[in-house]
Amino acid sequence: MDEKVNLKIDNLSVSVDTGTTILEAARKINIRIPTLCHHEDLCVAGNCRVCVVEESGMGRLQPACAIPVSEGMEIHTNSMKVRNARKQIIELLISEHRAECTTCYKNGKCELQALSNEYIVGESGFLPLVPLKGYTIDEFSPSIIKDDSKCIRCQRCVRTCDQLQSVGALTVAHKGGEMKISTFFDKPIYEVVCTNCGQCVNRCPTGALTEKTYINEVWNAIDNPEKFVVVQTAPAVRIALGEALDMEPGEIVTGKMVAALRRMGFNAVLDTDWSADLTIIEEGNELLQRLKRVLKDKEPGVKIPMTTSCSPGWIKFIEHTFPDFLEHLSTAKSPQQMFGALAKTFYAGKIGVEPSNMVSVSVMPCTAKKFEANRPEMRASGYQDVDFVVTTRELAMMIKQAGIDFRSLPDDDYDTIMGESTGASVIFGATGGVMEAALRTVYEVVTGREIPFDGLNIMPVRGMENVREASLKIENPLPEWDFLDGVEVKTCVAHGLSNAKKVMEQVKNGEADYHFIEIMACPGGCLGGGGQPLPTSPEIRKKRAEAIYREDAGKKIRKSHENPEIIQVYEEFLVEPLGHKSHELLHTTYTPRNRY
């Protein structure tokens, strides 16, 4: 397949591999062809027809995204015929779209708006179709809002839900003028198998799929003098927030973000990274206990492999898709929820605030976290542990609303306690990060020695490959763990729910001999979460991952169990990992849900 194809695009010669599309060939020589239904993460659809180009000798225009190049082809991307057609197609899309841009959540970030900005200037278009359709907006989900009146039927969301995530909550229903993006029987998203992962939101070119926003609720809490408002920030927010504030992908803005939050008026700016370290302690110990019960005590009914439980999209996915396998999940709550439970107990006591007067806000790269915070089991403190979840995108909006010049902010530090973190918790934001953090701690607990990887960097679990396996042989463990001597601990890392499904099918069929599996619902892990800045692409996610590992490498402490504030919370409050208090506050249960 290393044969080259030669063609001309707009009279420029280009030579590309066989199988390259016209669109890819044009991009190679920096000719921009507009697209809407095309997305780098998804299969080709060729639906929107915005990318049509003219091929010499052909009467009909060709969709550049779907047509492979051929030898001697002559393509024109900017002929009169192309411009007229493209303009009319954009006009058609606008006619079926509720173009109320000024009040739209996606104003300024809408791809249709951007195209109309280029092509439609001061002309009256076609007749508006939206008033004829009787649309309703689905706002029942705590995570995602679906507004069909803004949908342009590009089917990116359906391809995301079906192929990228193997969830199948969204489909195309009906045909012709009635055709629409729908759930099963057009039920509210809240009632179907949606995992709230928000990957559809990340790929929707318009405002048809957005996260449910809690910006106003958060401002109201901040403005209420009665309330003590604490905020926690997830690991993956700090390496992506800058993108939504005119900075380049891969810039680390931890210090500026903390400064901004403080200026916005939060009473305490704390870190989910701290509770990520706590998660490692609880989950790592749970893993060791399970291994002991299986390998040493030969207890029947104890399930391995154990899988991670910090990704709420993954949790809802397994509840729907593999309801008989919930015992494989670690019972440890996610860092967000561990934080929430401790904020209104331990932290409230420490600073002398009534938990009923505390409002707990989290900033997450994730839309599923909004659902997670609303789960009935997440009230360990006696109150809703996390009151409001805002996404990275929402935080960026709030920073703009507050009039803060983000780029010029001086770096600031998190408050204490529950603000200190380690490199291990930072990497929670990338696929493989939880695994790496856990291994750093678990290995040391078992052997008393540091994990034998150069600079603590466990490279085999890093990267963007769909499913990655790594094993680690335990030698000369401490006496308590002698049953692990010579055991090859097998691990697996998967990101994106279609990959999660593949791994779980193996588990289901008894083909997986892993001990520990890390699963993140989103491609790339949390750094590619459904609440992250737009756009998303493999390239952008790679840059975010690099930033995460840079942040890790720059941290003084790289292992969760060495976090002094973690040691402190056990000394002062929790007593011991998996202890009584931990069970009460830091562990949870799961609910089998309908498969269909």
Partner: protein, 392 residues
């Protein structure tokens, strides 16, 4: 009946010599058979007019461990009903064509995709298939035909949508390439032919390519089955030679007051009276006054008919039957319909028709499949020729 166009009797001729035709054909090489088809000049009778011999040749040459022969009986084009008649009166001819095709391309399975509206044909058709299987079993020809029924979707007559439908999906046309000859049903090389096309192969195999070739005109060889409806005293199914002028056709079939003929169904062209004598029915050319392609639908409208109503009916049909996946077709059809309504009501000036004509042209060059592309045919030909009827 008036003297006029030559009526032919190839397709519906009552002949039951499948065994002879099969035996005779199976004794010849695939190359010879394909050569006969190619030299006969037979082109697809569904409307698109792709040379049948070439289609079989390409499929035979395409690599693939499994291949299929599909008979497209999703006859949904308004004004077309000849495939129904062929399937009910001479199904054995169609089956013979499929079996020979199977031998040539290397397919052992054939399917008849029958539109849901024709379910009532199934008992008789299945019986014909069973009889045919007895015959092929006797001849040790490993070829089996199954019926697959549609469920009310015009677009499934588009070949790639038909494959999607058979595979359990929504009937949404695929991007092309790849073409069915390389990747059709189940992404394997597939011959998909219209019912009538397959029936013609029977005649060609029986009487030889010359006899077929002698009929018709250059580039439009053979006979064609026409579905005649509308304002005619003698609606029905007629086998005629290609190459007639529309004037001759109207002289024979019209009621003496024909003001327009819609050639090729809702997806076809509307020809006004003044162009009858310049319009020839055949494959080559577009609406150039030279010749018009058709799947055989001929709808005659007399002067009592409102061409606005005719166009409105077509557009209403397209709005419902578009699969909805591509922008030009999904939204374009709705805009054309709303647009002519607005002009007729006087909500939009007649100038808006120009914008709609432009839109139709955009649909023709940008829509994903034949449905969206051909909406422009009827739209433009009706609006341009009967503009005064469109205006408030």
């Amino acid at each position: 009946m008036k003297k006029g166009l030559k009526r032919l009797d190839l397709i519906f001729k009552n002949e039951h010599d499948c065994d002879v035709i099969l035996k005779k054909s199976l004794n010849r090489s695939n190359e010879e058979l394909v050569e006969d088809l190619i030299s006969s000049g037979l082109k697809g009778r569904g409307g698109a007019g792709f040379p049948t011999g070439l289609k079989w040749k390409l499929t035979a040459e395409a690599p693939g461990d499994e291949k299929y022969v599909i008979c497209n009986a999703d006859e949904g084009e308004p004004g077309t009903f000849k495939d129904r008649e062929i399937l009910s009166s001479v199904p054995h001819k169609v089956l013979t064509g499929m079996a020979i095709c199977g031998r040539i391309v290397g397919a052992q399975r054939g399917f008849i995709y029958l539109r849901g509206e024709y379910k009532f044909l199934i008992p008789e058709l299945q019986k014909a298939i069973n009889d045919f299987h007895e015959l092929t079993d006797k001849m040790k020809l490993p070829f089996r035909v199954e019926i697959f029924t549609g469920a009310g979707a015009y677009i499934c007559g588009e070949e790639s949508a038909l494959f999607e439908s058979m595979e359990g999906h929504r009937g949404e046309p695929r991007n092309k390439p790849p073409y069915p000859t390389d990747a059709g049903y189940r992404n394997r090389p597939t011959v998909i032919n219209n019912v009538e096309t397959l029936a013609h192969t029977y005649s060609i195999l029986k009487y030889g390519p010359e006899k077929f070739r002698d009929l018709g005109v250059k580039d439009s060889r053979g006979s064609k089955v026409f579905s005649v409806s509308g304002d005619t005293p003698i609606p029905g199914i007629y086998e005629l030679e290609f190459g007639m002028t529309l004037q001759k056709f109207v002289d024979d079939f019209g009621d003496g007051d024909a003001k327009a003929v819609q050639v090729g169904g809702a997806a076809g062209f509307c020809v006004p009276r003044k162009k009858f004598d310049k319009t020839v029915i055949g494959y080559q050319g577009k609406l150039t006054g030279i010749s018009l392609p058709t799947g055989g639908s001929m709808m005659i409208f007399n002067s009592s008919r409102s061409m606005y109503n005719v166009l409105h009916n077509y557009l209403d049909f397209f709005v419902e039957e578009s699969c909805g996946q591509c922008t030009p077709c999904r939204v374009g059809t709705q805009q054309l319909l709303l647009g002519i309504e607005a002009v007729k009501r006087g909500d939009k000036s007649s100038q808006y028709l120009e914008k709609l004509l432009e839109l139709a042209e955009t649909m023709r060059v940008t829509a994903k499949c034949g449905l969206g592309q051909s909406v422009a045919n009827s739209f433009s030909s009706i609006v341009e020729n009967f503009r005064e009827e469109m205006i408030y």
